[in-house]
Symmetry: C2
Subunit: 346 residues, 2 copies
């Protein structure tokens, strides 16, 4: 594809406008650095000490219901609070601060303590998608909420403090940094082309077939041309919708299928429960027309060489520029070669 | 200071223009997540298997000299290469890539395998500062180099693959993302105020005395008002200079003292070799007048609660916004209370 594909080069991230550095030759480097512990793989179906299992008590004494599908509640240690007095602080335009209001929720994906998303069956994943949609509706009914972040941290290596399969929703009164970046990119493209940036991007990727992993009636999952994390992927709805509320039953079924297939492929790469942080980006709510936005979901998995050696985004990456060692096309090849049956089921 | 200091709020990072979310109440959250291994603390003065120790052979067979101070060489697994054929790629303004040229160097800080920066004596640290200055000069003599990133990854938890005290320099043909952000902030402020942004910022911090850690004739080290990492600090030169080349002997002595004192305080917080990624930001080179730039050095340490529990910048942080649990003022208090004698010397 690129004549310089095997040489160090930069690529532009369409969604942020920022670039990433690709160093393809560097994967040959030997690794003597940190090796992560493998996730324990002998969890019981029910753990009496887990604050997410049905019927158990949480930090504040509340008892979880005996739920059969997914279950949602307000985070007992929320980073954002709904009740906050308003305030701004400005000292010489140099020290600037502002209060932020918000609501943080936790979603248990299933009563089963021993599962993860790729090990759940399709109806169970579909139930999670339904709950995301309901929660998005309910939170956006509050006028003061401007943005809703739905996400999951999977695996201890990604800061997850409870292996019971769960995700989070943080809804807040202003737009986060990453959303402001994407808003600008979506809106610039829409103004110039009267078309969604991601619709245009999906079209070109479907022609090229170099980075596509999943392609069904309503969604594609691909390794974006500008991926930073080794096996980073992007799930995009084929229909141009601004948020999850527009998804029909059929689309939600397909989203569940897409997530199942993608995460099974992840687990199969290193035959391990593949850690990641994943989450949807959608249009801000209660903020007027947002037609330029296009629903999508990012997967940022850290593993690089094996189940226990990850990519470190550290010195150069924090101070200068994200950098990756394998090409996005190589990562896409690896993902495409994986079976769609989970390795534990074989 | 802020009436809403104990409530969730956002602060603006003067150097990037981006905000961070502060959730002070959240540090009370119990932690059941990942616990890191403590760094081994029994390294010999000389390790026959270390590719940085004097006289040993490296990956490509080259033998290290029998050096007595610091020592520099081109990285055997460079992410950037000086010889690269030129190329750009553009497909419908959607897939965009470009070749990038560069030079990656490794600096061994001392022949002693068992030390770290905070355990080295002042003349040894001063020798490192001298070498940084020399290397900056030499690399900027190459017309095609536009930016030089001097940095250190300290500790296995920060992706460092060899405990022998060392840093890196990546010099390259274009400006990295983080430098572009700072360039804009420096230049906007300079245009409006005919003054360095960081000179103005240091003035206000020296009056407030709420976040200052080290204050000597030529440098201050402080927890910036907008710190993201729990114990993040910023070292700023009192004199407005654009890069390390302008530093006099006296300033270099003071920089060595500042780094020594700051890193000793870090090690003393949890009585451990405190991991971090640190690096200087300086004006781009071979890029015309850069008067608005002001030399500074960032320290990004990950530890939050103890020697083995770090802050995870994961789901919400990657997808939405950096978030912190303790206030910058609390972190500054903790750092200020530390002794300036290293705990191992007591
Ligand atoms: O160059 P090293 O020390 O082998 O590698 C380390 O620092 C680099 C620059 O920050 C990173 O790209 C690597 O992920 C990290 O492991
Ligand atoms: O909310 P949790 O699961 O306790 O915490 C985890 O996710 C949060 C949101 O990404 C992060 O701020 C924390 O650092 C991480 O440990």
């Amino acid at each position: 594809m690129l004549s310089f594909l095997d040489q160090p080069h930069t690529r532009i991230n369409l969604l942020t406008g920022e670039k990433i550095l690709v160093s393809p030759h560097r994967s040959k480097r030997p690794w003597q650095g940190q090796v992560e512990d493998l996730p324990a793989d002998n969890r019981p179906e029910y753990d009496p000490k887990c604050y997410l299992c049905p019927g158990n008590s949480r930090a504040d004494g509340t008892q979880n219901p005996d739920y059969k599908e997914s279950f949602v509640f307000v985070n007992d240690f929320s980073a954002l609070l709904a009740e906050s007095s308003d305030g701004t602080y400005n000292e010489g335009d140099l020290l600037k601060a502002e209060t932020e209001r918000g609501i943080c929720k936790v979603i248990s994906f299933t009563p089963r303590h021993d599962l993860t998303l790729p090990e759940m069956d399709l109806p169970a994943i579909k139930a999670v998608v339904d709950l995301w949609q309901q929660e998005f509706q309910e939170l956006s009914n509050k006028e003061w909420i401007k943005y809703i972040q739905i996400f999951e941290n999977k695996g201890a290596i990604m800061g997850c403090s409870n292996p019971h399969p769960h995700g989070q929703i943080w809804a807040q009164s202003s737009l986060p940094v990453e959303i402001e970046k994407e808003a600008l990119q979506f809106s610039n493209y829409y103004k110039a082309n009267a078309k969604s940036l991601l619709s245009a991007y999906v079209e070109i990727e479907l022609v090229k077939q170099e980075r596509i992993i999943v392609d069904n009636a309503h969604f594609v999952a691909l390794v974006p041309f500008w991926a930073s994390w080794p096996y980073e992927t992007l799930v995009i709805s084929k229909r141009h919708v601004t948020n999850i509320l527009s998804f029909t039953e059929e689309e939600k079924e397909d989203l569940a299928k897409t997530l199942q297939e993608l995460t099974i492929r992840y687990d199969n790469i290193f035959q391990t429960s593949f850690p990641y942080s994943a989450g949807m980006h959608q249009a801000p709510v209660n903020s007027g027309d947002q037609q330029e936005w296009h629903w999508h979901m990012h997967f940022y998995p850290p593993l690089l060489r094996s189940a226990s050696v990850k990519k470190f985004m550290v010195g150069y990456e924090m101070l200068a520029n994200p950098q990756r060692d394998i090409t996005p096309e190589f990562a896409a090849d690896v993902l495409r070669k994986q079976s769609t049956t989970h390795y534990k089921r074989k």
